[in-house]
Amino acid sequence: MKLTRICAYGLLWSVITSLAGGCMTARIEQHREARTGISDDEAIVILARSLHNGNDTETKFIDCVDNQLGKGANPLTVIPDEVFRDSYYPWFEPRTAPTGPADLPRLLAEPALAAKLAENRVRYLIWIEGSTEALEGGGSISCAAGAGAGGCFGLMWWEKDSDYEASIWDVKRALGSGTVSTDVNGMSVVPAVVVPIPLIAPTQGKACRRLAEQLKTFLVEGVT
């Protein structure tokens, strides 16, 4: 009897969470400017556009994309952002970093830098711009406590939007290969019947997985 009740609660919980998780819409876009392709011994770098330029990409998001690209089918060799910036100092600091693929030839004209990029087989620089933001929401929750009892009642909700764009630059050919962008929108809900139950829409995680998946296809398959 007790076990059946536990199973029923478990089932109800998984239905609620999957419903909340399902309240998301995702959009992926790709714009190709040149053929791509990558060999096993070549590496890529995922870099966040600088905070100096008003960009607010979370470090957590960059780490997630790094991680997703480095595993699964066709794993890619990814040099972590911080390691790359240190290894190629001073060329990728906020003030000195290239602003567009048109800057690549000038950058590659620096003999020490070009030699090191070639030595480490760095094939693509991928610049990420964007962030996750909480948009409008509503509702309210009231809590009260008395002698020996207490609880909360109400409902709160808000919308979250994870909007990111990746610009892919080919170091070997010194040109821009294209862009891949993702926009995931989801509704987070906190119903409270005695206990508040937060059902947060994981828009950032989904945006990360979608973007990484699309990037891998873009780089590995060459032409899509």
Partner: protein, 222 residues
């Protein structure tokens, strides 16, 4: 009075706790990368003044949180790495481990200074970032200790900070300071030769021509 020392000790502790509770000390890292640039064919001696080596920025406005930024060892570490990567040979003249014979026959001397340090905290400007501005001054002397150039290097750094997280304000300020210091190092490493007086001096010394010849030879040998 047998209990007097322990009361005094307790009073000292209470005072220390009260002071540290109102003052955030930003811990600046001393790890900086070496720049990936073509070295300038010069033997350069680096002199750090005591003020530079022990630079501490303090700010305490009555009724507000106090700030302490200890940049001395980080300044030395950053310029040490940057100048070491920029020149064919660099000698730290203040390092006791530097051998006297290494201090001879130097082509030039460099003496960095901190001219100013300023910052803006997010709580003052209603933002979610710490912003730091540092102005360094790089004094370049020739082998006869004559001043060649006194070059101001302005640097800027930002770091994100959650205003509700009071405990991490010191780390956020340290991060913005580190970004500004790296910015200064990057600017020095890339634009040193472009500073007009330095460029003119390098031409007079034949340094740039020497490097160009070397690069051309390197290309021919490839």
């Amino acid at each position: 009075m047998p209990g007097e020392p322990s009361i005094r000790r307790a009073a000292v502790w209470v005072t220390w706790l009260a002071l540290t509770a109102c003052t955030a000390t930003a811990p600046i890292t001393s790890e900086f990368p070496k720049p990936v640039v073509e070295p300038i064919p010069l033997r350069v001696g680096i002199r750090y003044t005591d003020e530079f080596k022990n630079y501490v920025f303090r700010q305490k406005i009555r009724g507000e949180q106090g700030w302490v930024v200890m940049m001395g060892s980080a300044n030395v570490a950053m310029f040490g790495q940057v100048l070491d990567g920029m020149f064919e040979d660099s000698v730290d003249l203040d390092n006791p481990e530097t051998r006297p014979r290494d201090k001879r026959n130097l082509d030039a001397y460099i003496e960095p200074e901190v001219e100013s340090f300023e910052f803006a905290a997010p709580m003052e400007w209603d933002t979610d970032v710490f912003t730091v501005w540092i102005t360094y001054r790089l004094n370049l002397y020739d082998s006869e200790s004559r001043l060649v150039a006194s070059w101001p290097v302005r640097a800027y750094g930002q770091s994100r900070h959650n205003v509700y997280n009071f405990l991490s304000a010191d780390k956020a300020l340290a991060e913005a300071t580190t970004v500004a210091m790296r910015d200064a190092g990057a600017y020095v490493a890339i634009y040193f030769e472009d500073e007009p007086r330095i460029r003119e001096w390098l031409r007079e010394e034949g340094t740039l021509q020497k490097r160009d010849r070397r690069s051309a030879r390197g290309l021919r040998n490839k």
